[in-house]
């Protein structure tokens, strides 16, 4: 049911006096309060802008870090943290293409192995004793070797 204007006007007139205090309050001067409202809202706006600014900065820093970590792992910029020696270029994936396995074997086989005996001796003073024994054993004839082997086997030595 849509009410007619007459009904509405009657009720409005009846309420007019009762609502006068509310209307009076609405029209009263509260400029001090409304000014303060503007400044408080402006302050919030400023805080929000600052917060957004710092949030953006923080996001950028995180993004940079993530990109850096990923790049670091993929491209391996720093060789010093690598498990392989810098001098051994065969293992530097980023700087050299993979070597052909056979070609690599040849290089390793052909290379002369230099042993630093001074260091080895410092670490193990009995080394030369072992080496002499080994040489002796290598030069023994087969029957002598068999004899030694049998002595060890039957715990005679």
């Amino acid at each position: 049911m849509i009410p007619n204007n007459k009904n509405i006007n009657e009720l409005e007139n009846e309420l007019k006096d009762k609502l006068s205090s509310y209307k009076e309050l609405r029209n009263s001067d509260n400029s001090f309060y409304f000014n303060s409202l503007y400044f408080r809202a402006s302050d919030k706006l400023l805080q929000k802008t600052k917060q957004n600014f710092y949030e953006h900065k923080l996001i950028n820093v995180f993004l940079f870090l993530i990109v850096f970590i990923i790049s670091y792992n993929v491209f391996n910029f720093n060789d010093t943290n690598n498990n392989f020696s810098v001098s051994n270029n065969y293992f530097l994936e980023a700087s050299l293409p993979w070597l052909d396995e056979e070609y690599f074997d040849e290089i390793v086989i052909d290379e002369e192995v230099l042993v630093d005996y001074n260091t080895l001796l410092e670490e193990d003073p009995n080394l030369f004793g072992y080496l002499e024994t080994l040489e002796l054993l290598n030069n023994l004839p087969t029957d002598k070797l068999n004899e030694i082997y049998n002595n060890i086997k039957y715990k005679k030595m």
Binding site: N7, I8, L15, N30, A41
Partner: protein, 184 residues
């Protein structure tokens, strides 16, 4: 210059970087925003909060305003939507007992009613408004206090004029009854 042209000029000045133009807009509308929110929410603190929120929204969104409707219609639409959302949130909080039972009686030392001589009458009216369903309360405030036409209210709320008239009539009847009862 009529008020629509004045608003357009102020918005244009603000978009061109004039902060004082924005201050003038706020001076012009903050009172209307506050009283609409106060009528809808019936307490000072919430109305204060909503007014600040609307000012912030205006600051951020005025640049996108196309003047397809009057500025005050747009501002009232924002305020009305914020108030209705606020009421819904409060209802949800009540269901989950997250808010105090006396939430509606919140007062503040800054409340502009505090020093008003006819403070008791204001409290009675706010009590009556609180008892109205939201739709009726909204049309009652706009028609009775903001003295808007049904056409303007319809533009803001998106409801038919017939529906608004019916809601207004029921609201008038209820408020009259409640206020008459409280006098006895």
């Amino acid at each position: 210059m009529n008020f629509v042209e004045e608003d357009r000029k102020l918005v244009e000045d603000f978009i061109n970087g004039s902060e004082s133009a924005f201050k003038k807009l706020v001076d012009k509308y903050s009172k209307k925003i506050y009283w609409h929110a106060r009528g809808m929410l019936n307490n000072h603190l919430d109305a204060d909060e909503i007014t600040q929120q609307v000012i912030i929204v205006l600051y951020n969104k005025l640049k996108t305003f196309k003047f397809e409707s009057a500025l005050y219609t747009w501002i009232f639409r924002i305020t009305s939507t914020r108030c209705i959302n606020f009421i819904r949130k409060r209802k949800i909080q009540k269901i989950f007992s997250l808010s105090d039972e006396n939430y509606n009686n919140l007062t503040s030392r800054n409340d502009i009613v505090k020093d008003f001589e006819r403070k008791d009458e204001i409290e009675q009216i706010e009590k009556a408004l609180r008892k109205l369903p939201v739709k009726q309360r909204e049309v009652f405030i706009m028609k009775n206090f903001e003295e808007m036409s049904y056409k303007e209210i319809s533009e803001i709320t998106g409801k038919s004029i017939g529906g608004l008239k019916a809601n207004y009539f029921h609201a008038l009847k209820k408020v009259t009854e409640i206020l008459n009862d409280s006098e006895q």
